[in-house]
């Protein structure tokens, strides 16, 4: 389904006084694609999101969201974008239904549309039987779900989720990620900002890594791993014998060998090296296991920022 570009940013820049919060950011997102935005706090993620929504004005640069310029046509953009802010709040003394009816009417939905969509949206986020309750009685996790229900009601072509899983327990997190995949299945483009790298890795098609207001890296996790770790293919090897690390490192195409403890080693390779590894080890060592380890975004992230810090110091 990925096809039409629904978010396009060109040279987006935001300056707060002397401080450059976002610096020349370019990226695009296609319909039905989930793009993860990563980066430390204060690296410009939320500011970029707010500029895309037309909630803050870029100092320079251009963006097109769902076919409109957020600066000149903020209403048209906001009609087509659902936004889940990082710290979500509701009117406490109103019921979930009243809260969603209010934003629904602001979004231009008719009473009938709100009635029709409300129950379906609540069912989809698993709040079907508590919609009449006041939001005061809701836990933080339920509020996050309610925020997602608001987006579902709007049926947007773009959904922007800022740290949606921060306050969730592991089980709810999995459910929440499934709901995000559901948005993708609807053909909605999803922009997901998060600090939980494994979650990002499990749902996102592509990721963009923010550092100091710039996009430092972007692409699929495998592409990022290839750039940062030197090889996009990570292979775990279990072998018992002399000089296993040295032998592994000697194989052409191996970028790095890392002992994992015991007889286990992690090998970063430029391509699928499993056959080469097996051949090399079979002669001198006892090979008990060899399997693909998907490159972990955690590793990419940790390595990139430790290198970036070294470069600065």
């Amino acid at each position: 389904m990925p096809g039409d570009i629904v978010i396009e940013a060109r040279g987006l820049t935001k300056r707060y006084g002397e401080k450059l919060a976002v610096d020349q950011v370019d990226f695009e997102v296609a319909a039905g694609e989930i793009v993860g935005i990563l980066g430390p706090n204060g690296s410009g993620k939320t500011t970029t999101i707010l500029m895309l929504l037309g909630l803050t004005e870029p100092t320079s640069g251009q963006a097109t969201v769902a076919g409109f310029d957020p600066l000149r046509d903020p209403l048209e953009v906001k009609r087509r974008v659902g936004y889940l802010p990082d710290q979500i709040g509701f009117y406490e003394n109103m019921s979930a239904r009243e809260n969603l009816a209010y934003t629904g009417r602001l979004a231009g939905l008719s009473r009938r549309e709100i009635d029709e969509r409300f129950l379906a949206a609540l069912d989809r986020v698993g709040l079907g039987n508590v919609g009449h309750q006041r939001v005061t009685t809701y836990s933080q996790g339920m509020r996050q779900r309610l925020g997602l229900a608001e987006i579902l009601m709007k049926r947007p072509s773009v959904a922007v989720l800022d740290e949606p899983t921060t306050a969730l327990d592991p089980h709810s997190t999995q459910e929440f990620l499934d709901m995000i995949r559901g948005l993708k299945a609807d053909g909605t483009a999803v922009l997901l900002s998060s600090h939980h790298l494994d979650q990002v890795q499990s749902v996102c098609d592509r990721v963009a890594l923010f550092n100091r207001g710039r996009i430092a890296l972007s692409g699929t996790v495998t592409e990022l791993a290839a750039r940062v770790l030197g090889g996009g293919y990570v292979i775990d090897v279990e072998a018992n014998g002399a000089d296993v690390p040295a032998r592994l490192a000697a194989i052409p195409g191996v970028v790095r060998v890392q002992p994992l403890g015991g007889d286990r080693y992690r090998v970063d390779g430029q391509r699928d090296l499993r056959a080469d590894l097996a051949r090399q080890l079979a002669q001198n060592a006892e090979l008990t296991g060899i399997y693909f380890a998907a490159p972990s975004l955690n590793e990419v992230y940790a390595r990139y920022f430790s290198e970036a810090r070294d470069a600065v110091e």
Binding site: S60, D73, P74, K78, V81, Y83, T103, L106
Partner: protein, 320 residues
């Protein structure tokens, strides 16, 4: 940079007004204030009717005296009480309107909907004004009803017109304080600070302004008394400074509307009184001409304060 934006700034205004009004009318805060105003107003009206019954026949405008009469026990007339209490109600309605949205973290969610900030701010103001108007209208009807019951005679058409004008002026006066509280709610992130700032302004104008005025006036215009008596320059300056307070504008408006014999609101020279029949009431239209600047001043102050709040709100960053 492109500054023109498309789409109407009023998109969603009706929805915001309806929500705000519903919130106010169902809030405990509003009920407490209504009860307070109601008790005070009924007491004042009751005492006034008792006194009018005792001294009946003094004035052709009995009904209006309901609002202007003072008693020994309560040295304030009904309009004096309203002038004192309405700011309190207006402040209570608006002091947490904008900062409350930030603190509840609903601001970004609401502004992510297809509306401009204009609609949110104006909607909050109009919602507050509508709630205030509803409360004042019921109070007004109640006092008239009480007057009918206790005095046993209906108000004349002229009295009704004057009282309607008074109601409009009261709402305009409430609007000033509503706009002021709204401004403070944009300015201060903590609702308590905003409330305190607004209440401070209220105390300044309702209690201390009359004490400050003579001091400032003598600084600007010199001593109040000249060789031949009071100096006109001093009186004029004093009046200008006095009228900077919305309370003064409101009190003058109410006075001229409800005491038809009022023919001037400033110092009058003896020569200007030549040929005047003292104590004779002015026609309604002339009373309105008399208070027109005051009423315009109240509305203009409201618009000015709202405009400042608007500019500040537009410049605010949405992320808290």
């Amino acid at each position: 940079m492109q500054s023109s934006r498309h789409g109407s700034p009023w998109t969603g205004l009706g929805t915001v007004v309806a929500k705000e009004t519903a919130d106010h009318l169902s809030s405990a805060r509003m009920r407490i204030l209504e009860a307070l105003v109601l008790l005070v107003a009924i007491y004042a009206a009751y005492m006034a009717t008792s006194q009018i019954r005792a001294t009946i026949g003094e004035s052709p405008f009995l009904f209006l005296r309901l609002l202007t009469m003072t008693q020994d026990l309560l040295p304030l007339s009904l309009i004096g009480l309203l002038g004192f209490l309405i700011p309190l109600v207006a402040i209570a309605l608006a002091f947490d309107s904008i900062n409350g949205e930030f603190n509840r973290r609903t601001m970004s969610r609401v502004l992510a909907q297809p509306i401009y900030r204009d609609a949110l701010l104006l909607g909050k103001f109009l919602g507050g004004l509508l709630s205030l108007s509803i409360a004042l209208l019921s109070l007004w009807l109640l006092v008239i009803g009480l007057g009918l019951l206790r005095l046993g005679l209906p108000p004349s058409t002229e009295e009704m017109v004057r009282m309607l004008g008074f109601l409009v002026a009261t709402i305009a006066y409430g609007g000033v304080w509503l706009a002021l509280a709204l401004l403070f709610s944009v300015l201060f992130r903590a609702p308590a600070t905003a409330a305190l700032a607004a209440l401070g302004t209220w105390l300044l104008f309702s209690l201390f302004w009359s004490l400050i005025t003579p001091i400032v006036t003598s600084l600007i215009a010199g001593p109040p008394e000249g060789v031949l008596g009071p100096r006109l320059e001093y009186l004029n300056t004093e009046q200008i400074i006095d009228r900077l307070a919305p309370n003064t504008l409101y009190a003058e408006t109410a006075l001229a509307l409800l005491q038809p014999a009022t023919r001037a609101l400033g110092p009058v020279l003896l020569s200007q009184l030549q040929g005047a029949v003292l104590g004779a009431p002015l026609p309604v239209t002339q009373s309105f001409v008399l208070i027109w600047p005051q009423l315009t001043g109240l509305v203009a102050t409201t618009i000015l304060i709202f405009a400042i709040a608007y500019v500040l709100f537009q410049r605010q960053e949405i992320r808290a």
